[in-house]
Symmetry: C2
Subunit: 218 residues, 2 copies
């Protein structure tokens, strides 16, 4: 079994490996993702390599092994199921559930994820629009197109959010944007790629390019 910390590294590496940009997963990228010092990451890379959960090549960076990938997906599965539980059953807000699920995802017990999944009615997506891996590790493809990739004049459905920080989610809450909300791109500012959008046909609002990149559409 893996420790909490090992699990957090696996999850971070998995997340990085899912990024559309397909960049190499470097020591410093992992350090940044976890808020740790790169020196600590070097320690853990050694440990996870010994456990054969990752492979490391200074040139190519870190890659999950088959087992590492399996382990990571099970953590992601638990995280997303618990998020559904917290939102739907305990009525937490969108921006609160991530942090609690960060702790709950590490609870290990035979069948726990499967029973939780059944209890929740086999949800396909978590409250942030991310697909929930099945018990066998299979998962639907994540949404990858962002609002920033949309065309001026186009109208798009919010399918998921890339950033799940409470800052971003609180901002969305303020703008009344949820999964399913329809967003129309009215204009793109050439200078900094800011977007002028209409939310559910409401009045024009300006958002940054960073904002647009973190809204995934379908």
């Amino acid at each position: 079994m893996n420790t909490f910390s090992e699990e957090n590294y696996l999850k971070a590496i998995f997340r990085l490996s899912q990024m559309p940009d397909n960049k190499k997963i470097s020591t410093s990228a992992i350090a940044e993702a976890l808020g740790n010092n790169p020196a600590s990451v070097v320690d853990m890379i050694r440990k996870l390599t010994d456990k054969q959960l990752i492979e490391y090549d200074k040139k190519k960076g870190v890659k999950l092994t088959t087992q590492g990938q399996k382990d990571a997906i099970q953590i992601v599965r638990k995280h997303r199921l618990w998020e559904v539980f917290l939102l739907e059953k305990l009525e937490y807000r969108w921006d609160e559930i991530h942090d609690i699920a960060e702790e709950l995802e590490h609870i290990k017990y035979h069948d726990l994820a499967d029973r939780l999944e059944k209890f929740l009615g086999f949800p396909e997506y978590d409250p942030h629009g991310d697909p929930i891996p099945k018990a066998n590790g299979k998962m639907a493809k994540s949404f990858s197109a962002s609002l920033a990739d949309g065309k001026v004049g186009g109208s798009y459905r919010v399918a998921a959010v890339r950033d799940t920080s409470s800052e971003f989610l609180k901002y969305l809450h303020k703008l009344e944007i949820n999964i399913g909300t329809q967003i129309k791109i009215i204009e793109q500012i050439a200078f900094d790629h800011s977007l002028i959008i209409s939310i559910d046909n409401g009045e024009a609002t300006t958002v940054s390019s960073k904002f647009g990149e973190n809204i995934l559409i379908s």
Copy 2:
């Protein structure tokens, strides 16, 4: 905030302080309860004393301070609420829930216990018959009379179990004893205080005195 380990010590001390025998809570008693070495307990006694969660007197043993008691009760509260969740919602067996709740009880987040309690419909007792502390720390008195204290010829309702180990609970499952089961004491063996009992008016069964001490009656 307290660490997982500190919480486990507080909980163990609380449990010992609830024992009807009212014995002094010694270093070795705590060590035994947690399966740790007495030397480790000495370390932690120092730490919890510094944090003003316990008071220690070599003669009188360990005592929880007001704050220590508060903290301990909140952990017990979470433990028992999660047990209800695991049994009622996830359909785990009686003998499985304790171990999972041991992990879940340490999850900290504003309101978590309160929301869980509400979701579960404000249960009064956990599946082992132990009272669930309320948000304000108040809790019903635990059942304290055991079957071993019963009279020959008397008939008693199983109100709770003292031992929550899966070994004991599996044994109860085999004997078809649950909370609410009626047990009649047919005879007590003078030699070793074994009990001959009838379960829900079924045929005579012999159980040890240790068994009798771990069944609490009302």
